[in-house]
């Protein structure tokens, strides 16, 4: 036969609890214990409030640029929920919900955006810091997963990134290494429709992002990223595949950021109100609350209580972040190397008493008082 098919592929889309409240019992029933759904719903409320407060902190000049997570909470939370405590979570910067669920102290995220590296010390948490360079973190996940496999410690790595990030060469190399070297990685692409002002149609001409994974012979799946149940389901499957078969999976979580890209952005410049309105209705909070209420797992009183709790909690988080001691002026020297080099020690020691580059032994300076203060 001169022309014969040699490879066929299908990408499936998974949805369990959709925006209209439809719930697929076959896949969804018993997937998550009710008390965990309740807990995760409360968690999302708290994250949403965190977002709101963080936004205000930026607007009032108490914090630098901040990227709202609003609308995307179910995606990282559902994935994080499906992981084991020992698994690595290697994220970008719109995964607060997942990180907080896994124990990241919330003030760390504020500290990060307050321009304080101490927010990045996640010692012992099996997390890497927020990745500012888009696309850079997936390779680290690949390496972490490899280390786990090598040590046989049964943990996997789950990495998160945006639709835009899949355009970077490093995404390609990470996915290819994971598939070729058979490493236990789960790739979660949060396709939120936009990379700053660039629509996802510019990032890829393909009908799905899920099919990016076909290139590597990976399992690929698209999922409603605003559907907590579906996120848990597909991530759990992927984590199992990683853990038991050392095979990576590419998950496209279709979601939307309801806020601006960051506080430095104004999304009205490039996106339509209708699009936003449509996605407002797909907010994971709405459908989760409906689901809980329909099962009598949630009441207006509980809602009020949860919101009040969130306010109290986040107020304390802000206090902790703001009241931390100012870092020592020379603090940025301290971790340049595990042991500082002599030159760095000298620079640290003389950072305000001498301009750098001058060997003190050569100079006999009588500070001409008054000339400079």
């Amino acid at each position: 036969m001169p022309v014969k098919p040699i490879f066929e592929a299908v990408i499936n889309h998974v949805s369990i609890l959709d925006e209209h409240g439809n719930f697929d019992a076959e896949l969804g029933e018993g997937l998550i214990p009710n008390e965990d759904v309740v807990a995760m719903y409360k968690h999302i409320l708290s994250c949403r409030h965190f977002d709101e407060i963080a936004f205000k902190l930026q607007r009032s000049g108490r914090m630098g640029t901040y990227p709202e997570n609003r609308g995307q909470e179910a995606a990282s939370l559902g994935a994080a929920y499906a992981l084991e405590p020992n698994d690595w979570m290697v994220t970008c910067y719109r995964e607060n919900a997942g990180l907080f669920w896994r124990g990241l102290p919330k003030e760390k995220i504020l500290l990060h955006w307050m321009g304080d590296e101490r927010g990045n010390n996640l010692d012992g948490l099996r997390m890497t810091p927020l990745a500012i360079a888009i696309g850079s973190q997936m390779l680290h996940a690949t390496g972490l997963a490899w280390a786990s496999k090598y040590k046989g410690d049964d943990s996997i790595a789950c990495t998160f990134f945006g639709d835009g990030a899949t355009s970077e060469g490093d995404f390609h190399e990470a996915a290819n290494f994971a598939a070729s070297l058979s490493l236990p990685v789960v790739f979660v692409c949060q396709n939120n429709g936009w990379a700053i002002s660039t629509p996802s149609s510019v990032e890829s001409a393909a009908p799905t992002f899920a099919q990016r994974g076909l290139a590597y012979g990976m399992e690929c799946i698209q999922v409603d990223g605003n559907d907590l149940f579906a996120m848990v389901k597909v991530t759990r499957d992927a984590a199992k595949r990683a853990r038991e078969q050392q095979k990576p999976t590419f998950i496209e979580a279709v979601t939307y950021r309801l806020g601006d890209h960051t506080t430095a952005d104004d999304a009205r410049r490039y996106r339509d109100q209708e699009e936003l309105d449509m996605w407002m209705k797909r907010d994971p909070i709405i459908r989760l609350r409906q689901w809980l209420e329909s099962r009598d797992l949630w009441s207006t009183e509980q809602e009020e209580q949860a919101r009040a709790d969130a306010e109290k909690e986040i107020a304390m988080v802000v206090k902790n972040a703001e009241e931390i001691d100012a870092p020592a002026a020379s603090e940025f020297f301290d971790n340049m190397f595990v042991e500082l080099t002599p030159e760095l020690k000298k620079q640290r020691q003389t950072m305000r008493t001498s301009s750098i580059g001058q060997d003190p032994s050569q100079v006999d300076v009588k500070q001409s008082e008054g000339a400079i203060k």
Binding site: G64, D116, M351, I356, Q358, I372
Partner: protein, 322 residues
């Protein structure tokens, strides 16, 4: 004449060169409808259309590599990298491809592109948004590098860069994108690549700097009360050693100021050049006031890292007292 900020002057230069030469096209992340994250390309998409102002996928190597092809194909592309911290992924295309096109093909193909990149610290930005990598590209043969310190120079240098037959990195010090306004002629004009500007003349000491640090230097000079000659390089590669040498031969002393880390920074090259050209005139070692040899800290400490008038002042005192 219009009273413009540096970023407005850049915008104006782009408009004028695009009107004049339809080989000029722009590509980069968010430069279209959004006008760029710093608004340097504001209004250009509306004015010149999506064929000439192109939002690219999020991929810096792709942006530079594709621009190389555009340039080899006869156009005059102006790619933008959103922040200097994201030049990393484009490093190979920039240094091993773009910079080598002409010499690799013995002139058969050239690569006239202008890579626009906001640079430097001091704007309270997140990590990797505040670096100063100019020395790395200065050490890379085959690239020209420009960094204006004023709206007037920004427009004139950018026009020169666009008309230049070779690849140019056009670093835009983001700290002074909107720090002040200046009269900028409406008409086109050029500021030559390779020529420094003497910001103020002086007899006792020469100070050499570029980009946003010009302001810190001026403050330090004023505070010192001394007669100091301030040279703004404007072009980093090829830098104007002649102007620096002439000044130091006159003053006998020199302080160099830059944001980048000290070790192997451009300051070292200039200091060595001074030693080579002015050895018998030097009355004190050339002094460098630079970023430290650390990672640029997150913004809580960025002002501890960046050279300020006080640290520059110390260098003046020490050099004068030598």
């Amino acid at each position: 004449m219009a009273n413009l900020t540096l970023v407005q002057a850049i915008n104006l230069a782009l408009i004028q060169e695009m009107e004049k030469d339809d080989r000029v096209i722009l590509l980069g992340e968010d430069i279209g409808l959004n006008g760029g994250v710093f608004r340097a390309t504001e209004g250009l998409f509306q004015r010149f259309g999506g064929d000439r102002v192109v939002d690219s996928p999020l991929a810096e190597s792709g942006i530079v590599g594709t621009a190389i092809g555009l340039a080899m194909g006869g156009l005059r592309p102006i790619p933008e990298i959103q922040f200097e911290g994201f030049m990393g992924p484009a490093f190979d295309q920039l240094t091993n491809q773009c910079a080598r096109t002409n010499t690799r093909t013995r002139g058969g193909l050239t690569c006239p592109l202008v890579l626009r990149v906001p640079v430097g610290g001091g704007i309270h930005a997140p990590e990797l948004h505040s670096d100063s990598p100019e020395a790395i590209y200065t050490h890379t043969p085959g690239l020209k590098i420009v960094m204006p310190s004023s709206p007037y120079d920004a427009k004139g240098l950018l026009i020169s860069a666009i008309r230049d037959a070779d690849p140019v990195i056009f670093f835009e010090p983001k700290r002074i994108y909107r720090a002040f306004r200046e009269e900028v002629p409406e008409d086109e004009y050029t500021v030559p690549i390779g020529k420094a500007r003497t910001v103020c003349e002086g007899e006792e000491l020469t100070m050499v700097t570029w980009g946003a640090s010009v302001i810190q230097c001026m403050n330090a000079i004023e505070a010192s009360g001394r007669s100091i000659e301030l040279i703004d390089l404007r072009t980093i590669q090829p830098f104007d050693m002649e102007a620096v040498a002439a000044s130091v031969q006159k003053t006998g002393r020199c302080v160099i100021v830059h944001e980048a880390p000290k070790t192997c920074g451009l300051g070292a090259e200039i200091a060595t050049g001074i030693m080579e050209h002015c050895f018998l005139h030097l009355e004190a070692p050339v002094q460098r006031v630079c970023g430290f040899d650390t990672i640029m800290p997150y913004y809580k400490l960025e002002l501890e890292y960046l050279p300020d008038a006080e640290r520059i002042g110390k260098a003046i005192t020490e050099t004068m007292a030598y």
